[in-house]
C-alpha cells in the first residue's frame, strides 16, 4: 500500500551530496543579497523588474531542483509541478492585463 512507508528503489540516489546543499544555500543567500542590493541602487531602477524576476526565478529553480530533488527525481513529478505552475502564471499575467496593471494603459 502506498501510505506504507517504503524504502525500496524510490529514492536511491535521488539526491545530491551534503556539500552541494551547502553550496546551493550559499548561492541562494548571495542571490538574495543581490536582490536587495538591486533594490537600493537607484541607477538600476529602470530595469529593476526584469533583474528581480530573473534573480528570483533562479532562486526558485535552485530550491525546486536541488532541495526538492526534482533534478534527480522522476520526470512525472516535474510535469505535475510544472502543470500547476504554468496555469498559475498564465492566470496571474491575464489578470494583470485585464486589470491594467501591465500592458496598454498600465499605470505602474
Amino acid at each position: 500500500m502506498a501510505e506504507h512507508p517504503t524504502h525500496e528503489t524510490a529514492h536511491a540516489g535521488a539526491h545530491a551530496s551534503k556539500g552541494t546543499y551547502w553550496l546551493i544555500a550559499l548561492v541562494l543567500g548571495i542571490l538574495t543579497l543581490l536582490e536587495v542590493a538591486v533594490f537600493y541602487v537607484p541607477l538600476l531602477h529602470s530595469v529593476i523588474v526584469p533583474i528581480l524576476l530573473v534573480l528570483s526565478s533562479a532562486k526558485f529553480a535552485l530550491v525546486a531542483m536541488f532541495f526538492m530533488h526534482l533534478k534527480f527525481d522522476k520526470p512525472i513529478l516535474t510535469t505535475l509541478f510544472a502543470g500547476g505552475l504554468v496555469v498559475a502564471t498564465a492566470i496571474i499575467l491575464s489578470m494583470m492585463l485585464l486589470f491594467g496593471t501591465i500592458g496598454p494603459g498600465a499605470h505602474m
Partner: protein, 628 residues
C-alpha cells in the same frame, strides 16, 4: 460461479451502520456518494419543480420573490455541487480501481475523509433551509450583492462556508485519484492502455486541483469582507465586484468541464461495448479530452461579455472559446465512427449514451452562439443561457451519468436492472427534457431574463413557460420510473453475471459485485481491451501485436493472503471537525476552535494509526480483529 463466490467471502455490503461510517473501501464509498447524489437530485429536482410551477403562468403565486431567489440559488448550487460532482465521484470511486486493476485507491482513508467532508458540507448548505435563511444570490453569487450591506442575513455565509468545505473535499479527492490513476495501475497498463473513462477522470482530477483554489481564494475574500470588514469587492473603497467575477469563472468554466468530462468518459466506454468495436481513434479521444481541459482555463471571461471588459479582451476570450468546439467535435465524430460498422445492441445504457451524444450537440452548439459576444450580449442572462446550460448539464451530464449507472448497475449491485422500465425511463426523460428546455431558447430570444419570479402578462411568455412546466413534471415521472426500476432490481434474486455486456475492460473480469479485495490476483495487462483480447484472441484485435492472450476472468479465490486497509473512525471524525470548524463561523469563535481541536486531534490519531489490519484473512469468518 457467482453463487460460489458469495459463499466464499463475506458479502461486500454486509455489516451495520457502523461499518458504513468507518469504511475505507472505495466501493462502499462509491455507493455512499451515489446514494447521496441521487437523494440530492430529488431535492434539487423538487426545487426546480417549484420554480417551474411559479413560472407556469404570469399570475402564479406559488412562492414569493425572496423565496424564488433562494430556490434557484439552491437549485443551481445543489445540482452542481451536490448532484453532478458526487455522482461522478461515485462512478470514479467505484470503477477506477477496478478498471486499472488496483485493490483500492492510493489513500483509502483520505478517500473516506473526502466523502464525509463533502457530506457534512452538503448538510451545512441545506441547514440554511432550517434556519429559514437560504442563500439567494444565484449559484455564482456575484459580488457585491453578496456583501453584508446588500445581504445582511446568514444565507450567503451558509453558502460560502459549505461550498468552501466541499471544495476541500474535492481537492483531497482529486489528489487521491490523480495519484491512484498515475501510480496504481496494474502491471502492463501503460497510459495509452488506460480506459477512456479513467483518462477523462484523470483530466477531471487535474481540473479540480487547479480550479478549486481560485474559488477558495474568492470565498476567502468574501469571507473577509463579510466577517472582518475588508473591501475586496466593495466599490466605495476602491475594490471592484468584477474581481469576484474573474475569480469565480476562472473556477467556473473549468468546473463545467469537470461536470461534462466524466460523462464523455462513460459514453466512450458504453458505445464501444454495445457496438462491439473498440473506441474509434482512442488516442485522439485522449488528447482531445486533455485539450478541452487545458483550453478550459483560458476562456472564463466568456461569462462576462456584458461586463464591459473592452473589445480586445472580448475578442481574445471569444476566439479561445470557439477553439473548444474543435476537440469536442473530434469526440462527437469519433463516437459516431465507433458506432459505424458495429453490431449495435440496443440496451438501456446504449440508449442513454446515444441520447447524451444527440442532446449534448444541441447544448454545444448553443454554447458556440454564446461564444460570439455580439450574439451573447442578447442571450446573456436570458433564458437562452438557461436552455444552454440544461442541454449540456441535463442532456450531457445527466444522460451520460445515467448511461454509466445502467451500465455498471449489475457490477455494483450484483443484480440486473429492468430493460423495459429502463427504456421507459429513457423515453420519458428525452421527451420531458426537450419539452422543458427547448422552449427556453424561444423565451430567451423573446427577451425573457433569467432569475425572475414573475413576468408581465402582456409579454406573451406564458405559452412556452407552461409547456416547460409540463415537461419538468414529465422528467419527474421519468425519475420515479428509474427509482421503481432500481427498487425492483434490488429486490430481485437473480444474480448478475460477471460480464453481462460482453465488455472489454478489467472491471468485468471480477464477480458482480466484486469481492472486497477486487482482484484475487493482480492482473497483468497487455492491451487497451485486455478482457476482450482474452475472449476473442488477438486476431480480432489489430491493436495488439503481441501473441499474449489478454487478461482472463479472475479466479474465485485468492491464492495468497490479502491485506486490506482496516476501517477507521478517524476520517469521518476529522471531517466532522472540519465541518464544525467551518460551520462554526456561523455560531461563534468557540465553535471554530472546538472544530479545529477535533480536526487536529483526529488527524494525529489518523496519522499514527496503522493502515492495514495485519494478516486479516479475507476468507472464512468475517474479520473480528480490525483496529479502530
Amino acid at each position: 460461479m457467482s453463487a460460489h463466490a458469495t459463499a466464499a467471502h463475506p458479502p461486500l455490503y454486509a455489516g451495520g451502520l457502523r461499518s458504513w461510517l468507518t469504511t475505507v473501501d472505495h466501493k462502499r464509498i462509491g455507493v455512499l456518494y451515489g446514494v447521496s447524489a441521487l437523494f440530492y437530485f430529488v431535492v434539487g429536482g423538487v426545487e426546480a419543480l417549484i420554480i417551474r410551477l411559479q413560472l407556469a403562468s404570469p399570475t402564479a403565486d406559488v412562492v414569493g420573490a425572496d423565496t424564488f431567489n433562494q430556490l434557484f440559488t439552491m437549485h443551481g448550487t445543489t445540482m452542481v455541487f451536490l448532484v453532478l460532482m458526487p455522482l461522478s465521484a461515485a462512478l470514479f470511486n467505484y470503477m477506477i480501481p477496478l478498471m486499472i486493476g488496483a485493490r483500492d485507491v492510493a489513500f483509502p482513508r483520505l478517500n473516506a475523509f473526502s466523502f464525509w467532508t463533502f457530506f457534512f458540507g452538503s448538510v451545512l448548505l441545506n441547514l440554511s433551509f432550517f434556519v429559514g435563511d437560504p442563500p439567494d444570490a444565484g449559484w455564482f453569487g456575484y459580488a457585491n450583492l453578496t456583501s453584508k450591506q446588500y445581504n445582511p442575513g446568514m444565507g450567503i455565509d451558509f453558502w460560502l462556508l459549505s461550498v468552501q468545505i466541499m471544495g476541500i473535499a474535492s481537492i483531497a479527492s482529486a489528489v487521491n485519484f490523480t495519484v491512484t490513476i498515475l501510480n496504481m495501475r496494474a502491471p502492463g497498463m501503460s497510459l495509452m492502455r488506460v480506459p477512456l473513462f479513467v483518462w477523462m477522470a484523470l483530466v477531471v482530477q487535474v481540473l479540480m486541483l487547479l480550479a478549486f483554489p481560485p474559488i477558495t481564494v474568492a470565498f476567502i475574500f468574501l469571507m473577509f469582507d463579510r466577517f472582518f470588514g475588508t473591501h475586496f469587492y466593495i466599490p466605495s473603497a476602491g475594490g471592484t465586484p468584477i474581481l469576484w467575477q474573474h475569480l469565480f469563472w476562472i473556477f467556473g468554466h473549468p468546473e463545467v468541464y469537470i461536470l461534462i468530462l466524466p460523462s464523455f468518459g462513460v459514453v466512450s466506454e458504453v458505445l464501444p461495448t454495445f457496438a462491439r468495436k473498440p473506441l474509434f481513434g482512442a488516442p485522439f479521444m485522449i488528447f482531445s479530452g486533455i485539450l478541452i481541459g487545458f483550453l478550459g482555463f483560458g476562456v472564463w471571461s466568456h461569462h462576462m461579455f456584458t461586463t464591459g471588459l473592452g473589445a480586445v479582451a472580448d475578442t481574445a476570450f471569444s476566439l479561445a472559446t470557439m477553439l473548444i468546439a474543435i476537440p469536442t467535435g473530434v469526440k462527437i465524430f469519433n463516437w459516431i465512427a465507433t458506432l459505424w460498422g458495429g453490431h449495435i445492441r440496443f440496451r438501456t445504457p446504449l440508449y442513454f449514451a446515444v441520447g447524451m451524444v444527440g442532446l449534448f450537440i444541441i447544448g454545444g452548439l448553443s454554447g458556440i452562439m454564446h461564444a460570439s459576444p455580439p450574439v451573447d450580449i442578447q442571450q446573456h442572462d436570458s433564458y437562452f443561457v438557461v436552455a444552454h446550460l440544461h442541454y449540456v448539464f441535463f442532456g450531457g451530464t445527466v444522460f451520460g451519468l445515467f448511461a454509466g449507472i445502467y451500465y455498471w448497475w449489475p457490477k455494483v449491485t450484483g443484480r440486473m436492472i429492468g430493460e423495459g422500465l429502463g427504456k421507459l425511463h429513457f423515453w420519458l426523460m428525452v421527451v420531458g427534457m426537450n419539452l422543458t428546455f427547448f422552449p427556453m431558447h424561444f423565451l430567451g430570444l423573446d427577451g425573457m431574463p433569467r432569475r425572475i419570479y414573475t413576468y408581465a402578462t402582456d409579454l406573451g411568455w406564458e405559452r412556452w413557460n407552461m409547456i416547460a412546466t409540463v415537461g419538468a413534471f414529465l422528467i419527474a415521472v421519468s425519475v420515479l420510473v428509474f427509482f421503481v426500476n432500481a427498487a425492483r432490481s434490488l429486490a430481485s434474486k437473480t444474480q448478475a453475471p460477471a460480464d453481462p455486456w460482453d465488455a472489454a475492460t478489467l472491471e468485468w473480469t471480477v464477480s458482480s459485485p466484486p469481492p472486497e479485495y477486487n482482484f484475487a490476483v493482480v492482473p497483468t495487462v497487455n492491451s487497451a481491451r485486455p478482457f476482450w483480447l482474452h475472449k476473442y484472441g488477438p486476431t480480432r484485435d489489430i491493436s495488439t501485436r503481441t501473441k499474449a492472450q489478454g487478461t482472463p476472468a479472475q479466479p474465485d479465490n485468492p491464492p495468497t493472503r490479502i491485506d486490506l486497509p482496516s476501517p477507521s473512525s478517524w476520517p469521518i471524525l476529522a471531517a466532522l471537525g472540519l465541518a464544525l470548524l467551518g460551520g462554526g463561523a456561523l455560531v461563534g469563535l468557540w465553535m471554530v476552535l472546538f472544530g479545529a481541536a477535533v480536526l487536529v486531534f483526529c488527524v494525529y490519531r489518523w496519522a499514527f494509526q496503522p493502515l492495514e489490519r495485519t494478516g486479516h484473512p479475507t476468507f472464512g469468518p468475517a474479520p473480528s480483529g480490525g483496529s479502530s
